[in-house]
Symmetry: C2
Subunit: 319 residues, 2 copies
């Protein structure tokens, strides 16, 4: 039995996830033209930059300049990530679409290692975010549960832990009189396999049947698209992905942490299955090829190297 | 609903699929030590070489020397591919386990381009193989239907075409008083997506309920493991895969044709799902790292770069 959605909402993570992990500097102009090309593909949301400490993440030091430089296209959200209140305040000063999102790691150990905050401190911070969103007219929408499937410090994460982490975000929202629209389950460091996806999505859906569920999947161990397929079977409609498979988590502790599932490979799979993405696959492939030129090395996406099947079909029709 | 198998049989395709496509020469000694290392992983079958024209495929010119050099391990099959009777006769002269297999391409256009034979000529050749197998005490086992999902010359392949191609192999076997044990569906050039896998496997199973079904999946467009997962859900128990993702089809017409699904990534997925492979994942990862050193460039496998989850769990247990 399956419950495939008719369409999916894709958030493109490539510019932020990808450029922050590259060893060499990426020119601001290259970031801008990449983001502008992505916006031409039809993808509705692009995660462009991180507002983080430029000393710790020098590759994101030009975040403000990138957002100032991008010519915006109607109907596309251009978001930026922040991990503390200072980052949020910086985001307020530039043209960026601030997501009304709150976050917690299912693994408390992961949260402590990466943000120096335990669950209680994290939740207090999320409450401050909600109040700050309110003060600036930003609507609270999604909660993100990082390391929903496992963590290199704490090991496997159970569905019960995912539900507990989700509940903690639901509660902090309720404390301020708000309601989350849904929840993203993030496989931050690549512990998920299809049965784990089924188990976690099922547990969240049992508890919050009206929640929109999203997936943020890293392809750390090659099973990313199998995991995405398992989520699609369950009717999940929101996915983060990364053009060309750009990216990786700089904090994951992995030797070569992989990026999100590859956008154009995911778009290919969905469209071939009759699930609409709103993304022009050929344009996304062009973006992936642009990304390889910009970073100066091979990237893991496959369809950009093999070509789409539609391109094959057109070649045949023209022959 | 799903019908996951308790265990799967993996045939390792890396040495043959991988080394035949490499631009630079691979030392015979390197091929031998790679095959010997693979045999230590527990994988029951290794496709080692192709007995093909050394002028057309110089990288396989040392096929005889490779097979002469390999120290064999009990319980492991060391196979070689042949594409014509001359290759078969050459295989008879060296220590190699000759598979009693017959083959046809679901796409006649693909067969004509690659072997210069139409369906009728191909089937006549398969009949000669069966007679030759008989003469040498080789038991006919599996049929292979290449391009079962699509072909760059003919486009998409329907399940009806897969059934017709399978029927033609069944018939040629019956003409000689034989019976196939099962059928491998090969996604030779990467046209499959999970629904196509479901459709083709379902159609073959409806017609031949007692057939053992195998999958030979190329990860041309990144959905290889999603396709394998779809096949696992249907209870498919035989898979070809390639250590480190080595390989690619030299005849596929693709710009950068991808190899089979990556063995260690597939083993990782199966074992994490509780499906036994008989393969020691850590040893297979070591083989994948050896393969990268031998070919001298990055290979697409993921788990060999990120490490297994068991390795993570052990690190945590030791900490």
């Amino acid at each position: 039995m399956s419950d495939f959605p008719k369409s999916v909402h894709i958030s493109e993570e490539g510019p932020r996830e990808g450029f922050q992990i590259e060893a060499g500097p990426i020119a601001t102009a290259d970031k801008i033209r990449f983001i502008e090309a992505l916006a031409e593909t039809g993808v509705p949301e692009i995660s462009c930059v991180s507002f983080v400490n430029p000393v710790k993440v020098p590759s994101m030091a030009d975040a403000d300049d990138v957002m100032q430089g991008v010519r915006r296209r109607d109907g596309v959200s251009y978001t930026g990530l922040f991990l503390n209140m200072k980052g949020f305040e910086r985001a307020l000063t530039v043209p960026v679409d601030i997501e009304g999102a709150i976050r917690i790691s299912a693994s408390e150990a992961f949260g402590i290692r990466n943000t120096n905050m335990d669950h209680a401190a994290t939740l207090a911070e999320q409450r401050r975010y909600i109040e700050a969103f309110d003060a600036h007219g930003i609507i609270l929408e999604y909660g993100y549960v990082m390391t929903s499937f496992g963590c290199n410090y704490e090991g496997a994460i159970t569905s019960a832990q995912v539900v507990a982490a989700t509940q903690s975000l639901v509660d902090v929202a309720a404390d301020t009189g708000k309601r989350l629209k849904g929840i993203y389950l993030a496989d931050t460091v690549g512990w998920a396999t299809p049965p784990a996806i089924e188990s976690a999505v099922g547990a969240v859906r049992d508890r919050w049947p009206d929640f929109e569920i999203g997936m943020h999947i890293h392809d750390t161990r090659g099973v990313g698209l199998a995991n995405a397929y398992a989520a699609l079977r369950l009717g999940v409609r929101r996915f983060d992905s990364s053009c060309a498979g750009l990216g990786g988590c700089p904090f994951s502790g992995g030797r070569k942490a992989a990026g999100n599932i590859c956008t154009e490979d995911f778009v290919f799979m969905c469209e071939e299955m009759g699930i609409e993405t709103g993304v022009d696959l050929e344009r996304m492939i062009e973006c992936a090829r642009m990304a390889e030129l910009i970073v100066g090395h091979d990237l893991p996406g496959k369809v950009m190297h093999s070509g789409s099947l539609d391109a094959r079909r057109h070649l045949r029709a023209a022959a």
